[in-house]
Symmetry: C2
Subunit: 217 residues, 2 copies
């Protein structure tokens, strides 16, 4: 059961393209790809046995063509890499920690909000928010397609509290949290608030100016 060399498959595809045959020799391949002529010969046969390439070896040289299975393998790798790098761009948001004014602490701890947070987000938030300065365009891209959670407002004798829109996120790759957008906010649009079960500043050792990243859940 020979272990084929995807590296070489890619090298051959780069030279031949995905359809046409490449007229070459094991010596040429070893010279430009590395390794000895013997190794090139063996690896070509392995790729051929794995049905990844079509190999026509003669005493005058060899012709290599990428077969469907080989092209599929490379394409699968392409798709995986695209996903990887797309997710990086789309599903991630950088932010810089900033001090809030304490309003977050106040409204997060109101009972009617608390109950909904627990039910809708799945955790009882720490009585405080982490404020982040983000790039506004990046924020828009980040939120696009994310499921929004509506936390209903309510009224007390003294004042009324508006709806809060929340998004479940992951902070620093592991910490569950939620971005919260109160209906009536005093924040500029490039500043966001996060809530979480724990004191994020303590748990993640953050201070003003710390860089953090937020991801989709």
């Amino acid at each position: 059961l020979p272990k084929y060399d995807e590296e070489l498959l890619f090298f051959l595809a780069s030279q031949a393209g995905l359809q046409s045959g490449l007229k070459t020799s094991t010596a040429k391949i070893s010279a430009s790809f590395g390794g000895s002529q013997q190794t090139a010969s063996r690896k070509l046969r392995e790729l051929s046995q794995a049905d990844l390439v079509e190999l026509n070896a003669t005493p005058t040289g060899c012709i290599v063509r990428i077969k469907k299975k080989g092209a599929d393998l490379l394409h699968q790798r392409l798709v995986s890499l695209q996903r990887l790098f797309n997710e990086k761009k789309k599903a991630q948001l950088q932010g810089i920690v900033k001090s809030g004014l304490g309003e977050g602490r106040y409204y997060v701890s109101r009972q009617p909000y608390l109950q909904q947070f627990k039910k809708l987000l799945g955790f009882k938030p720490f009585f405080g928010t982490l404020n982040l300065v983000v790039d506004q365009n990046q924020l828009q891209g980040f939120l696009f397609g994310l499921q929004s959670i509506q936390v209903k407002g309510f009224e007390t004798d003294e004042r009324s509290f508006g709806t809060i829109t929340a998004f479940k996120v992951v902070l620093q790759g592991k910490q569950e949290a939620a971005m919260v957008f109160p209906e009536r906010t005093t924040h500029p649009k490039n500043e966001i608030e996060l809530i979480s079960p724990s004191n994020l500043r303590k748990k993640l050792k953050l201070k003003d100016g710390s860089k953090v990243f937020v991801k989709h859940i």
Copy 2:
């Protein structure tokens, strides 16, 4: 000089993403990636020494993060693969061999055309055309940006011959040929004609229904 394992790098990136750290262990990696715990341990250290990942190994497990150099390596691979598969789509046209009605053979062999073919295409065409059925949209994409060659028409006592638009191409990865579009053609738009120095049916062993591919020169 350890040969680092791009496969493992990709595996780790898939798990961790490109930014966040992945809390794991060499045993877990070996279980899902393959190989032994010892090999996972060694390969992780190799990747770390090559500055592709940041490795924090402790007696309670390890944390792996893809470093810039590692992400760059994967991205380079992504770009190469994208190029490979883009070229496939753009610069290539599939076709299926079909029998023509013999008109091609007739007009190709007219002296005034012949002289121009020789001068403009660089070869004296075989007296016959290879007819291909292609996808019309694919054809449009294929021709886009290709330099067109105008073969002027002429008149005889009996009739007039219109301009022929031609494009130099390569057939089956190696055979030089040209796609020809007579001004007034009786072909449907998804059928094209190719001329070449040789009898393509014989030389490339084609018959009706054979799949061929045409590339930019």
